[in-house]
Subunit: 278 residues, 2 copies
């Protein structure tokens, strides 16, 4: 496997992250995960724009302009013979780079930019979800960014596994519905599609935004807000969204079976057509 | 500079963290920071015990037994000619090691263990602190561990700098006093020494525990509990604790000047004597 690291295509074996990298030592960085269909990274401009805007919030200078990052993704896919694969994925990781001891942001930084590619597995058809005991921190600016610290999500996912489920749904620290351990959450209330607002401590998902836009096009009523979790637990249909899995139906929520929801299927078909459009 | 990485002393220049390390990609790991006085890592057994117990919570197998880690610290100090330095520091970092794409914990892991040494600077005499807008997550198991995700702390410290201060004091998500961005917090109420309980989302600091034990020996009354932040703001004396800085007096809290507190000095002298005992 080859990687793209700070401007060069390198063999993963010999690739070198400095042990003083603040991404490694402090989780001081960001990432993006992209689906690749037939060699084409899906919605790449939106992913790079989100990375750039998050980097600005963290005051990490983007070491390569968006166009160069986009080209790098293409080069890396080709270098790994994934430019014609029906399905693959990319992960772009940006950190503040090496730093001296301590947590204070150094005055001069030399950010690390890593792109990794992987052959893509088909997503599962549906998942079983449980509500996690871990809550998303409403006071943390990082909660609205795809920041490196994912340990809470790792804990939540393990907790779900122990409960015989696949995915964890997190509330936020104020008790509102937030998101899944890897993805946003949507549910149906009658014919209305409901999802937490990005004013809360959730990642503004790129699939989330596409799904909302498509729903409006399909004349589906949508509600974004601070959502009480009881509403999710009573929902007739629930799905998660994530760049790699698209719309992922929840077949069981906290033990309660949910039949396949026709509106989820209709929206999922529209989303698949949308990301496969030329 | 030399590092100790997975059992070997290596040059920092050529040292190699895999780009697939979950510490780098997800903050999936832990660390410890130790003060070194005259070549002797202070309270090393307590630090290694805390690392081992946190690793158990994260289900990261400790790849070297405590005795080997202790020996490694000594070797690394010698390799960097810091074994006779009056003051130095060590950072021990443990991650779950490389993993495939995704956040699920792989069934088999090969953890990464890195030790870095640095020449030690004298701590400041006192700091100016402000209350952060970022809160410590009371629902996160990681909040009681010295886990890699420190981005909230980085944010809090930057926020403090922007406010003209040096350190940030965080409340927890339930509104209680928690800790500083790097350290525990203590204050005086009359002749009683008050600090948040480790039942809350704070790191069980090793300096914190030593200070409490010494205070009891000196017949100082102590209170550990869920503390309302208003009590801190009215305190006659405040100090922070951290392995590298010992007792660090707060000279200004949210803009209010605090004169040097004689009891802080007495306790600090006792702590210095304690960590320098043969």
């Amino acid at each position: 496997m080859k990687l793209w690291l700070n401007g060069e295509i390198v063999e993963a074996e010999g690739a070198h992250i400095a042990p003083s990298d603040r991404g490694f030592l402090l989780g001081d960085g960001l990432f993006e995960t992209l689906l690749v269909l037939d060699g084409r990274p899906v919605l790449i401009d939106a992913h790079i724009a989100r990375l750039a805007s998050a980097a600005e919030i963290l005051a990490i200078p983007l070491p390569f302009p968006p166009a160069a990052l986009k080209a790098a993704c293409g080069e890396l896919l080709a270098a790994n013979a994934l430019d014609n694969a029906p399905r693959a994925s990319l992960r772009v990781t940006l950190t503040r780079g090496p730093g001296p001891r301590g947590i204070a942001v150094p005055p001069e930084v030399s950010p690390t930019l890593l792109i990794a590619a992987a052959p893509g597995a088909e997503p599962p058809e549906s998942v079983r979800a449980v509500i996690s005991t871990i809550r998303r921190n409403a006071s943390s600016p990082a909660a609205q960014l795809k920041a490196l610290p994912y340990l809470d999500n790792v804990f939540a996912k393990e907790e779900a596994k122990l409960a015989g489920a696949d995915e964890a749904i997190l509330l936020d620290t104020q008790g509102h519905l937030a998101c899944a351990s890897v993805g946003n959450v949507f549910f149906w209330e009658g014919r209305t599609l409901v999802t937490p607002t990005t004013d809360g401590p959730i990642l503004p998902g790129i699939t989330r935004a596409s799904v909302l836009a498509l729903a409006r096009k399909l004349d589906i009523e949508t509600e974004e807000g601070r959502i009480a979790p009881e509403r999710l637990l009573k929902a007739e249909g629930i799905f998660l969204t994530n760049s790699l899995t698209g719309l992922l139906p929840v077949e069981k929520m906290d033990g309660r079976k949910l039949p396949a929801h026709p509106e989820t299927q209709r929206l999922s078909d529209a989303y698949e057509a949308f990301i496969r459009r030329p």
